[in-house]
Subunit: 521 residues, 2 copies
């Protein structure tokens, strides 16, 4: 470790720079300026950054995705507080201590890129995407004007255009939002604005009761959005789903009629392509018919399932999506480009997005600029400063091509299929349903509960199994997978395989490990 | 350049890996899996990442902050489109081509970390903060549960606690939001929920007309928020400001009384500490008195000015902030930790934030987890997946200490003061007002317009000066500074010096360069 040598260099460089600064002639150096010191200096900082990047490369990239290393290093919150010196104090700390913090932070964090992290709807660590993210961070600009983000204004436009073409639209609009929840909220806002443009100025107070429809399996952001946008969660009508978690168009139609008959005004149906728990796809064609009949905005929350559009084998899951008015699609989920990358896509070509969101701030969106103002796209957003979320996806897409992305999607579905077949062959694994997509929901029936389904406490006892297995896997650090109760179903696992580095051996390991962790249960 | 050697290694590694994959015995290899190929492979990707990091280090960190390099490389949108191959295609592209793209992207982007970038309320490239950002990107987790973000849940809590202590609160709550606009929207939502808890379920339809107050100098996010939250921009009452851009408490009191007399319900006053154009600070004590008298929620949008709290010399600007109910404070602005880092801080200790925003999704926030559930903080947010925004600030704070941050703030204010004095000594620079904070607003009167203030077209002609100077500086790439018209004032420059690397020589350069660029005007 040549850290101590580096640190000696830090000190000497610092002294030199400080000296040079002090010598600048005629400079009225305030005490504040004189105090500045080591941490400001470029060269010192660059050395630190290079040392830190080595640590990142070794610990957060290589080891963090290596099967010989743990997925997580479990520690109780109170213990973790004792181990980490989180306190922020008056004095700065030396470079070697800071590098130590970096190592500790990485070591004690969950390795979401690990091939045995199956816990969330994202995993993996695509090196091209990570490169795009590091460049975005280093350039640190805001995606609001061509003036400060020329490359990224054009790039966002190109990425959104390409994504729209996979939806099936030749034209349209869109914007990257900070996450799928906010994309979905934008859909609510646009649909409301299209129906009642006066809402922007007058607010909801002057309007009739507005109602939105979504399925009982939809993502909670529709509820959060209805609350945030002043619509109210009571005005989100939950449409029934069939036994596979898909919205029933007839029930939708029925509920729309009922709401209308009560004098309220339906304005949007939010469908889901890839529900959070079951990965179900709502039948878009049937729902689009209902929306057309009632002149309702059709939104498709394809945050999770949208990436299936890239696969000629699987895009049938989203049949009819081109009839939507708006689509949420998060490449940070299945495609693993890194949080956050959420595209909000629109079929509209009448500048609805900008008309709905614009505030025309003269200090950003001057009208007498020397270039074409159509490239100042920031006023389409509800944000002011907005991160560059397009580069990471663009660079990964350039590296893989649409075909490479398709391969990844197909591979994920192949892996799910493999797991299903294996589970059927093994005792103890009990599928909730045949998966339609990546979400593989199952109970694990441990040895003591097998063939006891008729005992009165079977389900109560089964419901306690998943939390115990989860606790054991996390304390061991061998893998991570999520579980939840759902409706009247007791706790079951939801297995998600999206990491492109996953192999069949990892899937076998997953099944074996569940068996091992539960062998005494 | 050893790129070609690296590329040879890419190819051989790729072949080796592909071979090994194909040989995995018993694996039902689908065509999709067989097609995978080069871009997935770990070692190849790691080589690419290392090469890319070298480029980032040299081009986006060192050269991008070097005075011998340009601030921007201006190109018309249509020209830039021709230069950059932005198209996304079916086939992936080779590693060397991708590295070339990375270089082009950096070269053609604006260097916001450059010591002569004065265009936005952020600048500089703190190496410790950048390290924190790169680690956050590599670990790629979501800040919603202790399960997947143990370190960052505790760290966010500590950073918010420390920020609250600078506000003057011993207890409270808070969360990082994707930007100040959304933080301000959260303030609107919380104030509304506190006053009318039923709004979450019932919506605004069932409520009286709600009204918020803010000054005419406030940020446009209050308008965007009112539109988005269904309150309506007409229900944002703009309070008058004095000649320094500060809200007049008497006018606020008067307008509140008027709104009440009309039967509407005021519920929030949004003050600003550091307005966008003038950098003005509203008089919080006087406004807090008015809010107390009328039982209104006091929000302080200190996105820009909040960092002055760190300075014992300058925190008087925010006198009375401890009386606020909520505060927005963006360390990504003055402290330069990188977009985005926006803290929404609350005085409340009754879990108002969680009660207002929670949706209690069972698949994330299981109630039978094996650890203390108070550490699953994600339901406080309107987002679901949420980026880790605390680490970059935490690491920079650890490096500099509160004292080091104070020094930076003081230095920024010293620089502004230096510029003011220099402008007074030079012909042509005409201050709009003595700055209270960092924003230094001025007209530059070029030689042809000097001593012609009484001519009828003076102001019209003066208004055309700033856009021309701006165009020239961008085409030359020498520096960047923003301008805008404001109220009845024609275009003027708003100079912002926040980059900690700026020296007196940069400030002299700035003044000289304006003179040079306008010498024929």
């Amino acid at each position: 470790m040549n850290l101590s040598r580096s640190l000696c260099r830090f000190v000497s460089i610092t002294r030199k720079h400080l000296g040079r600064n002090l010598l600048l002639k005629g400079f009225p150096l305030s005490p504040a300026m004189a105090r500045e010191g080591s941490t400001l200096q470029r060269d010192t900082g660059d050395e630190f950054l290079k040392e830190a990047f080595k640590i990142v490369m070794e610990e957060a990239v290589q080891n963090a995705t290596d099967r010989n290393h743990k997925v997580c290093e479990w520690m109780e919150p109170e213990d973790l507080k004792r181990v980490l010196d989180l306190n922020l104090r008056s004095e700065g700390e030396p470079q070697d201590v800071l590098l130590g913090y970096c190592k500790d932070i990485i070591r004690l964090s969950v390795k979401t890129g690990h091939p045995r992290f199956f816990n969330q709807q994202f995993s993996g660590l695509d090196r091209h995407a990570l490169t795009g993210r590091i460049i975005s961070e280093a350039l640190n600009t805001s995606q609001y004007t061509y003036e400060v983000a020329p490359v990224f204004v054009l790039m966002e436009d190109e990425v959104l255009r390409t994504m729209r073409s996979f939806v099936g639209w030749k034209a349209g609009d869109g914007i990257f939002c900070p996450g799928g929840s906010i994309s979905n909220m934008c859909a609510l806002n646009l649909a409301r604005f299209q129906r009642f443009p006066q809402c922007k100025e007058k607010g909801l107070h002057a309007l009739p009761r507005l109602v939105v429809f979504t399925s009982q399996e939809s993502h909670y952001s529709i509820q959060k959005g209805a609350a945030f946008l002043g619509i109210g969660t009571d005005n989100v009508i939950l449409v029934k789903t069939n036994d596979r978690g898909k919205m029933i168009p007839e029930d939708l139609d029925h509920k729309i009629q009922k709401v209308k008959s009560e004098g309220s005004v339906p304005f949007l149906v939010s469908t889901t392509c890839g529900t959070t728990v079951f990965g179900a796809f709502d039948p878009l064609e049937g729902i689009a018919d209902v929306c057309e009949r009632h002149s309702l905005w059709l939104h498709v929350d394809a945050a999770w399932g949208g990436s299936a559009l890239l696969s000629s084998r699987h895009r049938h899951l989203l049949k009819g999506i081109e009839r939507a008015d708006s689509v949420t699609w998060n490449p940070h989920k299945l495609l693993g480009v890194g949080l956050q990358c959420s595209a909000f896509l629109l079929r509209d070509t009448t500048q609805l997005l900008e008309r709905c969101h614009a505030a025309n701030a003269t200090y950003l969106f001057q009208t007498d600029k020397f270039y074409n103002l159509q490239y100042d796209t920031g006023d389409k957003s509800i944000q002011c400063g907005r991160r560059v979320d397009c580069l990471k996806l663009w660079l990964m897409w350039k590296a893989l091509g649409s075909k490479g992305l398709e391969t990844r999607v197909d591979r994920v579905l192949d892996h799910t299929r493999y797991l299903v077949e294996e589970m059927k062959r093994r005792e103890g694994f009990r599928l909730i349903m045949e998966p339609e997509f990546v979400n593989l929901c199952f109970w694990y029936v441990p040895p003591s509960l097998r063939n006891k389904e008729n005992s009165p406490d079977f389900w109560t006892r089964l419901g306690k199994v998943a939390p115990v297995i989860k606790e054991r896997m996390m304390k061991k650090g061998s893998m991570m997978v999520g579980y939840q109760p759902h409706g009247n179903m007791v706790n079951f696992f939801r297995q998600i395989v999206v990491n492109p580095e996953v192999t069949k051996e990892d899937l076998d390991f997953f099944l074996d490990e569940i068996e091992r962790l539960a062998e005494d249960l």
